[in-house]
């Protein structure tokens, strides 16, 4: 319990510092920021914009405003070239966009992570059991190759063959297709982005699990289980997998960072309007207010995932729980 409380405190400090950092970003923009934000505005409009962005206040007050807004689900506005399009009525809310985009990104990343694990775990277990076999060498070499293929290259190659050469289906459907609306279309649009994201992760997870499994299979309790006459399948899946899966779990949590970065690029390749698309769009249009919240939301999610992984870690392996309680 104490370890969790400690971790929670650390989580809080990290989030505090990260969100302060994203709040300060707008101050770092070289030159007069309102000039960049609203190039065709009048001096009055700029003063107005400066006020609405709380740029006339000290950083900590602005930070307070942002946190307060976040708590109320208000993340500010997209502004037009002359400041907010109509005074402070805010026609294009950042929060609304997040509401649409976040579920899409989450779905893509969850599928990618799931598929990567579902493919990697059996491969890792079997290659560890048959270490040194032709199958093992083949899978290992393939995995090593996969690690060197950037996700965007895989995405483009898949998009080119599926969409252009073989004409299997339209790879850039206009707009997101909800599951309820058209289940088949929904998964069709997901398939290529998810494969592009999952491929590299499969290689990472499989190699990791394989080496951990090989180490576990040397342990006395495995010899014991064998001596008892348990079947190899039972030893592998019931006895050896769980202690071998701890590193995998941690890495799966850390890899969410890679996954998010990958999703940003992949969403832009397949023109999927998720968080990654919003970020790239916000940069091109220099929407710093929106950008601040997007980066903060991503950091929040990423840190939270790793916190959960840490807790799960302890549940999976009681030794860690005790070691921590003692230390």
């Amino acid at each position: 319990m104490r370890a969790i409380a400690q971790r929670l405190l650390q989580l809080f400090v990290v989030l505090l510092l990260v969100t302060i950092f994203t709040s300060v970003l707008i101050d770092l923009v070289p030159g007069d920021v309102t000039n960049t934000l609203a190039p065709v505005s009048t001096p009055e409009q700029r003063a107005q914009l400066r006020h609405e962005l709380h740029l006339d206040q000290p950083v900590w007050e602005r930070y307070g405003e942002w946190v307060g807004g976040l708590a109320h689900g208000d993340l500010g506005c997209y502004y037009g070239t002359s400041g907010y399009t109509s005074g402070s009525s805010c026609p294009d809310k950042v929060a609304d966009r997040v509401k649409d985009a976040l579920p899409i990104s989450l779905e893509i990343m969850i599928w990618a992570q799931l598929i990567a694990l579902v493919v990697a775990i059996p491969l890792g277990v079997i290659t560890a059991y048959r270490a040194g076999s032709m199958f093992d060498k083949g899978v290992n070499t393939t995995a090593f190759g996969l690690l060197a293929i950037p996700n965007f290259v895989l995405a483009l190659v898949l998009a080119y063959y599926v969409g252009v050469v073989w004409h299997l289906w339209d790879i850039n459907p206009t707009g997101w297709i909800d599951f309820g609306q058209d289940p088949v279309g929904h998964f069709k649009q997901l398939l290529l982005p998810v494969i592009s994201l999952a491929a590299g992760q499969v290689a990472v997870y499989m190699r990791l699990l394989r080496s951990d499994m090989i180490a576990t299979l040397q342990e006395d309790f495995v010899t014991m289980a064998r001596a008892k006459g348990l079947s190899p399948a039972r030893i592998l899946w019931r006895h050896a997998l769980r202690p071998s899966s701890l590193t995998l779990l941690t890495v799966a949590g850390l890899n969410v960072g890679t996954l998010i970065g990958g999703a940003v690029v992949i969403e832009n390749i397949f023109v999927i309007h998720g968080m990654g698309f919003l970020i790239a769009d916000a940069i091109v249009r220099r929407q710093y207010v929106a950008l601040q919240s997007y980066v903060a939301i991503i950091a929040l999610g990423y840190v939270a995932v790793n916190f959960l992984v840490d807790i799960l870690y302890a549940t999976l392996d009681p030794r860690i729980r005790h070691a921590r309680a003692i230390g």
Binding site: V18, F144, A148, P150, V157, N268
Partner: protein, 324 residues
Amino acid sequence: MPEQSVEPMIETESAAPVVAGTQTLVLDAEPEAAPTVEKSATKKLGLFGWIAIGWLVVIVGLALLAPWLPIAPPDQKFLRDTGAGPSIKHIMGVDGIGQDMFSRVVWGARASLLVATASVLFGLIFGGVLGLMAGYYRGRLDGVLSYIFNCFLAIPQLVLALAIIAVFASDPAVTVGEREFWLVISIGLVSIPVIGRITRASTLTWAQREFVLASRSIGARNKRVIIREVMPNVLPAMFSIALLGIAVVIVLEGGLSILGVGIPPSTPSWGNLIATGRNELTKIVGANPQIIFAPAIAIFLTVLSLNYLGDVVRARFDVRESAI
């Protein structure tokens, strides 16, 4: 005490499996590769290792010598051959506006490798120094640095790099040099905590060894102990991370190019070649896929070589931690 809760995070991506995987791969490839050279150096390098080194030498050589090579300038237009596939005259074909792909890939290596090497160097210098200090002095300094590293690691690398570039260099009027500078700074910055943590972990183990104690006992100052005793032992870890890091940055630059904030297309880089090729491939009917495949294969082989060599170094020096 914060250190303990962080512990499971230090163990990462491909620490051990890489070692195992590499060994089987090498044994498989060439059991008695180059028996004439000293054992320890070549035993783990193997045939693939030499091929990887060979490829990197070729690529770096081409990149350095690009202006003096007998190839077309990267922006020379061969309008009659526009969109043509590979031929004797243009061994990698011609892109949609008549530019020779081979020349662009060679010049692209220049920009990609320059940005990648410079960013990793930046990260190595700052991350290395901070990591050494944190691991050697420990205590409060270590706690503070670990917290700062964790904060930076809380934002996914690509997103953090994007945010920094968005603030400092997203102006459409930005020059190539300025963009490259900010790419190096932002990617270098995001690699500091990664390199710093690995260096710290490696330093922690070395700083407790007898020879460090001996050096201190005979009155060596901390600075001398760090530079003369600890650093030489930590360098292999940093070197293997540098190799892997360059590979990561080449890919990262590609991703940033796709998002429109990589090296501007007027200067070819592997990333922006793919980014421009992507538009041509999806918009122009019958466009030749080599406009993507040529730079993509260059990236693939380079990343493969760097990963492989990084693993070899790591296996030889038994480097445990990696977070790239």
